[in-house]
């Protein structure tokens, strides 16, 4: 890209351009992340802010323009739904910022902060969806993006059903939509479709009516969705809350701490969990490590119970939401 055999005047102009770019460089922006140093000298990967993996076609055009002009013509799709543009020279950061501003967009974050939340399609058009994951994800990003934790990263995600494509078990704070069914016994005609639909065998026919074993139900709502005459109905809807999960070098499965949490309570819980983390964690430990060290019950009592949500505080009630596989160590809290 360097201009070969530049005239002295052009060379001077290029130098001046470089200088003015340096002057415009905002080091605070640089520190808050979003620009990630590459192995190549002076080159950075620009991480774009894509909450829930949603970007407009206009934004996509700008991302590709940035990649063509300042990168090497490729973008990278990250595991947490971001678009990254690799091979950007730090001198071009101000120009990149300007282009992003033009479509009301910005870079993401890294370091010890609340990261951009991730989310599945949710109930908007996915037939399995039980909650508005995209709507909540957008709002959580608006309210909490980049909040410093004082310790380490803080990841939040939303899954619209128990299939949990967005791996709420591996997040510092994960929210999974859930629905509790109830049967209108007078309306039920005993067709057994709900029993057939239940993958967890939580329903069995007794005296021509489906009877539910709560300890097996994982609140997916399949029985409600299949019932041809709407005799199986939603009793309660909300979010299952998981805390303390992580992937990385030392993966940890999250703990289920509350259920049927409302949209508004989601924001309250994020605030409380963040405050508890800030106050109680040591050094660069993640929320899950702090909970392991100080005890799950203490975390629940201090951060969750005061909010008035429906707390899950025993292993029996957690059982329907995990299978206790052999990979993760569920050390007793």
């Amino acid at each position: 890209m360097a201009v070969e055999e530049a005239t002295p005047l052009e060379g001077l102009k290029a130098e001046l351009r470089k200088e003015s770019r340096r002057a415009h460089l905002n080091f605070a922006d640089l520190k808050s992340g979003g620009y990630i140093k590459q192995t190549q000298k002076d080159l950075f990967t620009v991480r774009l802010r894509c909450p829930g993996g949603r970007v407009t076609t206009e934004q996509m055009r700008v991302a590709s323009e940035i990649a063509e002009r300042y990168g090497r013509g490729t973008v990278h799709l990250t595991v947490r739904q971001s678009i990254e543009v690799p091979y950007v020279h730090h001198a071009d950061f101000p120009a990149v910022q300007e282009m992003l501003k033009g479509v009301d967009w910005s870079i993401a974050t890294c370091g010890p902060r609340v990261r951009v939340p991730t989310a599945c399609a949710g109930c908007e058009y996915n037939p399995n969806g039980l909650g508005d994951t995209q709507g909540l994800c957008r709002e959580v990003d608006r309210r909490f993006f980049g909040t410093p934790t004082g310790h380490h990263k803080f990841k939040i995600s939303f899954s619209g059903c128990p299939i949990d494509c967005f791996r709420t078990r591996e997040m510092d704070l994960g929210f999974q939509a859930m629905v509790g069914p109830r049967l209108d016994e007078a309306a039920c005609n005993g067709c057994t479709l709900c029993v057939q639909a239940c993958e967890d065998k939580a329903l069995v026919m007794q005296a021509k009516l489906p009877v539910r074993d709560d300890s097996k139900c994982n609140n997916c709502g399949d029985c409600i969705k299949v019932c041809p005459i709407d005799a199986m109905l939603p009793r309660q809807r909300g979010w299952l809350v998981r805390v303390g999960g992580r992937h990385g070098k030392h993966p940890l499965f999250a703990y289920e701490v509350a259920r049927y949490v409302s949209d508004e309570q989601v924001f309250v819980l994020i605030e409380r969990a963040l405050a508890w983390y800030r106050e109680n964690a040591e050094g660069r430990e993640r929320l899950g490590a702090a909970i392991q060290r100080l005890g799950l019950n203490r975390f629940i009592d201090e951060a969750i119970r005061p909010t008035g949500v429906e707390v899950i505080d025993n292993e029996a009630d957690r059982r329907p939401y995990w299978t206790g596989g052999n990979f993760y160590d569920r050390a007793a809290a």
Binding site: P127, C191, T192, L193, Q196, A197, E199, D222, K225, V226, C227, P228, I229
Partner: protein, 90 residues
């Protein structure tokens, strides 16, 4: 394919009810077959479908409902499959 699978139901004294045999047909092809057969009916018309247990019984009745039709009866068959009567919606 639909025509081949559409047979007259000669067994239960309701010879006018068409039958779609989806046994051995995987999702979502089984649902497409049912959908095509339902398109041949007027609203209120009925159709019988044979479905395997497992994924077909989990998916097809739900999709039928989402499309605005109604499963009226469900009868377990001797071979482990299920016979569903579906009433065509709008």
């Amino acid at each position: 394919m639909t025509a081949r699978r559409l047979e007259q139901n000669a067994s239960a004294g309701v010879p006018e009810v068409p039958l779609v045999d989806c046994r051995g047909v995987a999702c979502p092809t089984n649902f497409v077959l049912v959908k095509l057969a339902l398109e041949e009916l007027d609203p209120g018309g009925v159709l019988d479908v044979l479905l395997d247990e497992g994924q077909p019984m989990r998916n097809v009745p739900r999709s039928v409902k989402e499309d605005g039709h109604r499963v009226v009866t469900v009868e377990p068959q001797e071979d482990g499959s299920f016979r569903l009567r579906i009433r065509c919606g709008a």
